[in-house]
Symmetry: C2
Subunit: 293 residues, 2 copies
């Protein structure tokens, strides 16, 4: 199967990009007149954690590029212990691909990486989609030791993808059913899988969250300088990175539309993939200076 | 001109509906397979304050019904000093029209009236759009005496519709330009105009805001019982009814999608009418039990 033929994260082959210092694992598929859309992944997530119900509809109209940061999946190197370190790797990856400007979908940790990248080099992105994420200096970011989360994460009956159903979705029947469907979609990919992230990945990424919670000077001041059209999305009941962080993003970014979903947690984009991809595609299709779409 | 032919609030004739107790002024136009959409108006607003760029696109696909509450415009009676009193008038109006269930777009004060109506009689609405409004017990609701607002409202150079440009829009060039366009659209209607609201209307409606800010028992508890699909919209920079009130609505209503617009104040729907009506029409077109669209 040729990389350019597959149009789903269920089947697209993983590629390796060699730079001077690293080998980066990625998947690239889809086509259309839009700029490529870079996907930046969540805590401990690999290429296999991207829901085809999110990636595939967006691959109609543009190329999508899924990326394992350093030390994750089949990418080499140490997992950075700061968001800034992850942003450097993602920038080096795009440079090695010859991409000067693209769109980005940053989810959770990936949204923080996107924010750092655009602060470091504004021209790297045209439009940004930030889902379930928060600004530097945000509140209650990924405290997995909280009793409400720890209980679900440490439950031995939740193994593999099952734990995602418990922490990305709410306890309602409808949300858990959506979580089941999400896991079934992830499980469709049977070959060419990334190795699951181990404790070394988790520990370094948690260190990055703790560093990201800190701030110097005026809180959120750096957001006001970012004028890129931005689409901020979250579940109203996100317990991992509470929706208040999305409020602070949309209030302080110069040019951001906020959308929140009901009865949804951290995985709102996977709970409502049809709605999310329809809105995301409309946002990306716009060439307006305004984020409003 | 026949009432059924006109498809714009610029030209549709005003009608009067006689009940036992009152005569209610309204305008009704548009057509399609959707349920009628009732528009409930803002503080001191009359039928003439509905932007045709908002009403007219929504009149394609359904009838829209614009309504003067008691004592406003050409509707008879005393202006109620509570939201509950206004909700009773709106309910009596719908009953006299023979409408048992409809959709609603409640803006500002009108959103509070919609919330009270659906609490009193859940079957009255199928889907609700709540723009620039807030829940009972909300914060900083329509305090026109705040220095930031009072300065603009009392400026003698702001007359008639001009004051709306200053208080519904932000001070940015883009938002003020959108405010100019909004006023030009309102000014297109030259005949069959409502009388502007006087101090008696303003005083009674301000009393209703003050009563609405109070609450008994658990704050926002009444919202959790409302399961209607709801679309909550606000400008991120609303100074009249701050966006935090929309956050509380979307967090506490059982089934609400929230959308906020950047660089926008209280009049976000008039600043981005194309975007707003596109989203509102998609929301209204859905028959899903979920608010997600």
């Amino acid at each position: 199967m040729s990389p350019t033929k597959a149009t789903s994260n269920t089947t697209v082959p993983t590629q390796l990009l060699q730079t001077n210092a690293h080998s980066y694992a990625y998947r690239r598929f889809g086509s259309g007149s839009g700029l490529p859309l870079l996907f930046l992944q969540h805590f401990t997530g690999t290429l296999d954690n991207w829901d085809p119900a999110v990636t595939d509809p967006l691959a109609s109209g543009r190329e999508v590029i899924l990326f394992d940061n350093a030390g994750v999946g089949r990418s080499t190197g140490e997992v950075p212990r700061t968001v800034a370190g992850m942003a450097q790797h993602a920038g080096a990856f795009l440079e090695a691909l010859g991409i000067k400007t693209c769109d980005v979908l940053g989810y959770s940790l990936g949204g923080m990486v996107a924010l750092q990248m655009v602060q470091d080099r504004p021209s790297i992105f045209r439009r940004m989609i930030l889902v379930g994420t928060g600004p530097r200096g945000g509140e209650d970011i990924m405290h997995l030791e909280k009793p409400s989360l720890a209980k679900r994460i440490q439950d031995p009956t939740n193994r593999g993808y099952d734990v995602l159903k418990k922490i990305f979705f709410t306890s309602s029947h409808a949300s858990q059913a959506a979580g089941e469907a999400f896991i079934r979609r992830l499980s469709r990919r049977k070959e060419d899988l990334d190795p699951a992230a181990g404790p070394n990945v988790a520990n370094a990424q948690i260190a990055a969250f703790r560093e990201w919670e800190g701030f110097k000077g005026e809180r959120f001041a750096e957001l006001k300088a970012i004028r890129h059209p931005t689409f901020v999305v979250n579940g109203a009941g996100d317990e991992m990175i509470p929706v208040s962080n999305s409020y602070r993003l949309s209030e302080n970014l110069a040019n951001a539309v906020l959308l929140t979903y009901p009865d949804a947690g951290h995985g709102s984009l996977f709970q409502y993939p049809e709605s999310f991809t329809r809105h995301a595609a409309a946002f990306l299709a716009s060439n307006s200076e305004s984020a409003a779409f």
